[in-house]
């Protein structure tokens, strides 16, 4: 399985990420993707061939294997890793959209027109929401998959050495032996632990972003109310009712970007 393309795509994400996000990216690539490719895939390589049942009835091992492993662990992990890394691409796409808008705006109004965004890469306005949603989605995907792992397999996160199976065409309850159960258990716990770490990193980053935005808006409101009280002393009433400060001038686009900041939270 070629994971190299994903690495290439996501190394660009680093530019737009916070420190926590970069740690998350490192954890995902080193402790999840690399361990998956190097170790986990090989451990589950011959899982059906080495799944043997104590019976000579043809079809019995097939049916029992299918009952205990409706979807193989490695396939679920691959899906999980792909889904968990995709939200980061949403952020990259949003920044690319902003840059494209900026470029088209400059083509329309000339190179000296005021810019739409103070800095297209900074997390303001819509980009902040995209980033927040991507974090929540990542945490949700990881939690969802942990729950699926827990419910889908009879041993939950455990891997028993022998399972009892009585599905037709097995003539009676037969013992079926799983290959390398301990090694599989070790890697399952490893993957669960790294998923939990990633969920915690994502939730910490969400808390950090929300907290930072709350503090910023409280500071902004305090400065705005201080400015209003200074304006009442110095400005004629009609300027206040127009909602502009004499120093701001009539730059519509500058106002638009500052309004975006406010609405964006």
């Amino acid at each position: 399985m070629n994971w190299g393309f994903l690495q290439g795509l996501l190394s660009g994400v680093n530019k737009y990420s916070t420190a926590l996000s970069r740690i998350w990216l490192s954890v995902v690539f080193i402790f999840r993707v690399l361990v998956y490719v190097v170790a986990a895939e090989e451990v589950w390589d011959d899982e059906q061939k080495d799944f043997v049942c104590n019976t000579r009835q043809p079809g019995c091992p097939n049916v029992c294997y299918d009952e205990f492993f409706p979807v193989s662990h490695v396939r679920l992990w691959a899906l999980q890793l792909i889904l968990v890394t995709c939200p980061s691409l949403m952020v990259v796409m949003h920044v690319a959209y902003r840059q494209d808008r900026e470029r088209r705006h400059r083509l329309k109004y000339g190179p000296n027109a005021p810019s739409l965004y103070n800095n297209p890469n900074k997390k303001r306005g819509g980009l902040w929401w995209t980033y927040l949603l991507s974090l929540i989605f990542k945490a949700a995907v990881d939690s969802g998959f942990l729950y699926i792992f827990h419910r889908l397999y009879q041993g939950h996160y455990d891997m028993p050495r022998v399972v009892a199976c009585s599905q037709a065409p097995c003539p009676h309850t037969v013992d079926c032996y799983i290959s390398r159960p301990t090694e599989k258990k070790v890697f399952t716990y490893f993957m669960v632990a790294t998923a939990v770490i990633c969920i915690l990193l994502n939730l910490s980053e969400v808390t950090y972003l929300l907290g930072k935005r709350c503090l910023e808006s409280m500071g902004h409101r305090r400065r705005w109310s201080q400015r209003q009280s200074r304006l009442r002393d110095s400005c004629p009433p009609h300027a206040l009712s127009q909602g502009e400060h004499p120093r701001d001038g009539n730059s519509v686009l500058k106002k638009a970007s500052s309004v975006t900041v406010d609405i964006g939270g």
């Binding site: 994971w3 190299g4 690495q7 420190a19 970069r22 490192s26 690539f29 080193i30 402790f31 993707v33 690399l34 361990v35 490719v37 190097v38 170790a39 090989e42 451990v43 011959d46 080495d50 043997v52 049942c53 104590n54 019976t55 050495r161 022998v162 013992d175 079926c176 032996y177 799983i178 290959s179 390398r180 159960p181 301990t182 090694e183 070790v186 890697f187």
Partner: protein, 231 residues
């Protein structure tokens, strides 16, 4: 095989001492390359070729699982990953310094990769963590497989095996040679890390001793000013 991400560690070369670069070369050439080219193939069909002198279904599975709770190659892969990761701490710290200089728009450090202040501590911690991981994995290896050799015959009497059966390993001598090779390179890496650690600490002590006993003007030297800014 995505081991090629570890080639990003080549960036670590810039911020390492001389011994650090030797360590990096040992890890890449004698451990990673040997692992990829040889060790993986030696253990390729280990379970298929593991045979017990019994026809009871499930006996081989159970005995193999008992003797090899986790395969040696997987343990090595984990060891290589864990041992290479602390070097990234140094790279992250340098990137953090770069970010700080950009944010404040002035030169805060003598140079981004100079081993002073916080970066010195980061480097020291990365060395200690590397030594810890290497020793930890060696001990784990020894405890799990009862030594560093692989015998050709093992006796197993777990259920559902009806009695004590003889189980035969495949390629025991080749596996023993590779295990000893990996243990040797691991010990070499421990020695290199330890030497580097001692040299770093020794150099710092000498520098502090000379700074303390040199003229008072040196206390306000640019080096110590920058050290104070960094701290």
């Amino acid at each position: 095989m995505s081991w090629m991400f570890l080639s990003d560690l080549n960036g670590v070369n810039k911020y390492s001492t001389g011994i650090g670069r030797i360590w990096l070369a040992v890890v890449f050439i004698f451990r990673l390359l040997v692992y990829m080219v040889a060790a993986e193939h030696v253990w390729k069909d280990e379970q298929k070729e593991f045979e017990c002198n019994i026809r009871q279904t499930g006996c081989e599975n159970v005995c193999f699982d008992y003797f090899f709770p986790i395969s040696q190659v997987r343990l090595w892969a984990l060891q290589l990953i864990m041992v290479s990761t602390p070097s990234l701490l140094v790279v992250l710290h340098v990137a953090y310094r770069e970010g700080r200089e950009k944010r404040y728009r002035k030169k805060l450090y003598v140079s981004l990769g100079t081993m002073d202040g916080g970066l010195w501590y980061t480097y020291l911690i990365s060395l200690i963590v590397k030594i810890g991981f290497e020793i930890g994995f060696l001990v784990l290896f020894y405890k799990l497989y009862d030594g560093f050799s692989v015998s050709y015959l093992m006796k197993c009497d777990l259920k559902p095996c009806p009695n004590t059966v003889d189980c035969f390993m495949s390629k025991p001598t080749e596996k023993t040679i590779f295990i000893l090779f990996m243990v040797t390179t691991s010990c070499l890496c421990i020695v290199l890390n330890f030497t580097e650690l001692s040299l770093l600490v020794f150099k710092c002590l000498i520098k502090c001793y000379f700074q303390k006993h040199s003229s008072p003007q040196c206390v306000n030297s640019p080096t110590s000013d920058i050290l104070n800014v960094v701290r």
